[in-house]
């Protein structure tokens, strides 16, 4: 459990985008309305070269959010001490405005699978994840935000709902929440529950950051809609509407646009950030 001297997160309640190196010049030239940038931690764990030089440069002008995709918080085995040390080093020199990771696993038997894999929501998983988050927060010396996953299937053995599970993790570890609104919509569609009902049960008071991204549409064996979190296109209208639903209840929050595959030209990404700004503008501070 964190004590109250631990550094917490302080991103502005404004639009941010996932940083892509091809946008470097244009971001420095005209970022408006983008006020902060998010990086994937693992891409900046080399020893030097252009990635670190660009990040140093950007961090002088923008608050940076460090978003880990490789820690495997939900792994059955212990966290990789080498990876923890790399994370500590990055967060140490960069002193980012925020640090977040996923409710997922990605490493097993020292094999990294490069995907965010699902977890059963059981007491055993809860205990293990809380131990891992305690270790992460102790190691990097600051609060972590935990992101809800996109789910394509459910575990028969689960005994907790996802919002309750996340709330209990926050209570036990003192971690904050990264609410991915697209993931809520994807999971709710895939598993037939109400996305608004999910938000109503979710610990909104712990949210330090919101994610938005695009998804693909597919079907399962029985013709049931199967949405796939792809981060490869615009955010759909129903997800923007769900963002409004969230912001009406949470107040203004930092809102990130994620676009990781088929990365568009900067003006298209900026237009998505404009839309996030408009959503924030209609909420009283």
């Amino acid at each position: 459990m964190l004590d109250n001297t631990t550094r917490s997160n302080n991103l502005p309640a404004a639009p941010g985008v996932g940083y892509k190196p091809q946008h470097f010049e244009q971001i420095l030239d005209n970022a408006h309305p983008v006020s902060w940038l998010e990086i994937h931690a693992e891409n900046y764990m080399g020893d030097g070269g252009r990635p670190l030089a660009q990040l140093r440069h950007l961090s002088e002008q923008f608050p940076i959010s460090v978003h880990g995709v490789g820690l495997s918080i939900g792994g059955e085995g212990p966290l990789d001490p080498d990876h923890l040390a790399r994370l500590k080093q990055l967060i140490g020199w960069l002193n980012p405005a925020s640090f977040s990771e996923h409710l997922a696993w990605s490493t097993h038997d020292s094999h990294f699978l490069n995907d965010l894999l699902p977890l059963p929501y059981t007491d055993a998983t809860l205990t293990r994840i809380c131990e891992h988050i305690d270790l992460v927060q102790d190691t990097v010396g600051r609060q972590m935000l935990l992101e809800n996953p996109s789910s394509y299937l459910a575990f028969e053995e689960s005994t907790w709902s996802e919002p309750d599970f996340l709330r209990e993790i926050a209570r036990r570890t003192g971690c904050g929440m990264l609410l991915d609104v697209n993931n809520v919509f994807v999971s709710a569609t895939n598993l037939d529950y109400s996305p608004q009902g999910y938000i109503d049960a979710y610990p909104l008071e712990k949210v330090g950051e919101i994610h938005l991204g695009g998804h693909d549409e597919d079907e399962d064996d029985h013709g049931h809609p199967l949405l796939i979190d792809s981060h490869g296109r615009e955010v759909v209208d129903t997800v923007w509407a769900l963002l409004d639903y969230v912001l009406d209840r949470s107040g203004p929050k930092p809102v990130l646009i994620e676009w990781d595959t088929d990365v568009p030209d900067w003006p298209i990404l900026r237009a998505e950030a404009d839309r996030a700004q408009a959503a924030l503008d209609r909420v009283p501070a």
């Binding site: 693992e42 891409n43 764990m45 080399g46 020893d47 030097g48 070269g49 252009r50 990635p51 670190l52 030089a53 995709v69 490789g70 820690l71 495997s72 792994g75 059955e76 990789d80 080498d82 990876h83 790399r86 696993w105 990605s106 490493t107 097993h108 038997d109 020292s110 094999h111 990294f112 699978l113 490069n114 995907d115 894999l117 699902p118 059963p120 059981t122 394509y152 299937l153 459910a154 575990f155 028969e156 053995e157 895939n190 598993l191 037939d192 597919d218 399962d220 064996d221 029985h222 049931h224 199967l226 796939i228």
Partner: protein
């Protein structure tokens, strides 16, 4: 029915394996092809990573063949760390062991070159020695020892890997001839660039890396390769900012 990560992991990497019991769809029926979303994510993301990591190999083999090869490789050698920037270290050895590719003997060395370029790209920054650091009397030059930038790499081959690399990355580059080529990679700013080393260049640099003086390494190299051109090799290192320190031991007086 609980599903361990061992079970999940095994079924992920083996498309022929049964989907683990205990995974459900929205109607609490067996998850079926919903599980394939995870299988696809893993296979597609690692295959994409291989395409990005080995663009020249991909060009040489064709994208479709590369997909097939990556599919075998990623199951045999899944990443051993979340640092995807270094994924594929076993790929040169894997290519060398593929019997179907034995008629393309150079592939493995081209893959080593592409790995070395990526390692150079992510290597630590180190400032080059001042341009006049070697503007010293010739007898001092021969007594000097050199320190090299972490981004410097030497790739040796029995194949014309420099010519193959250029032919597949530069418009109008000449067709490769059947000769052995050694490559020096330097990174003047942030972009690693391969250069063809003159004969003996790789041996001489290796001597310097082992702590020999410029003169000592030269004598060893020239004994084997009389035509070794020290000036041309030194110029490549200097122009590429690969020399980071020059240390001259003073003779006792």
């Amino acid at each position: 029915m609980s599903v361990s990560q061992t079970t999940f992991h095994a079924a992920l990497l083996d498309p022929a394996a049964a989907i683990p019991e205990g995974l459900l769809d929205a109607a609490a029926q067996p998850a079926g092809r919903r599980f394939s979303v995870y299988r696809n994510n893993v296979a597609v993301s690692l295959t994409d990573a291989m395409h990005q990591a080995f663009p020249v190999i991909t060009k040489l083999l064709g994208a479709q063949n590369m997909d097939g090869l990556a599919g075998i490789f990623l199951r045999k050698h899944p990443p051993s760390s979340p640092l995807m920037m270094f994924y594929g270290e076993e790929f040169p050895g894997f290519l060398a062991g593929m019997e179907q590719l034995s008629h393309l003997g150079y592939l493995s060395d081209v893959a080593r070159l592409e790995l070395a370029l990526r390692q150079s790209y992510h290597a630590a920054d180190k400032e080059a020695a001042p341009t006049d650091a070697l503007a010293i009397p010739p007898e001092d030059i021969m007594r000097a020892r050199l320190g090299f930038a972490p981004s410097m790499q030497v790739v040796r081959s029995d194949w014309p890997i420099f010519s193959i690399w250029r032919f597949n990355t530069e418009d109008g580059a000449p067709k490769p001839a059947a000769v052995a080529e050694d490559i020096l990679i330097t990174r003047p700013d942030y972009d690693p660039a391969p250069h063809l080393l003159p004969p003996g260049g790789a041996e001489w640099i290796s001597g310097l890396q082992a702590g020999r003086t410029i003169g000592g390494a030269f004598e060893e190299t020239a004994a084997q390769i009389p035509e070794f051109d020290l000036g041309a090799t030194l110029a490549l290192l200097l122009q590429g900012g690969a020399i980071t320190s020059v240390t001259i031991e003073r003779l006792a007086t």
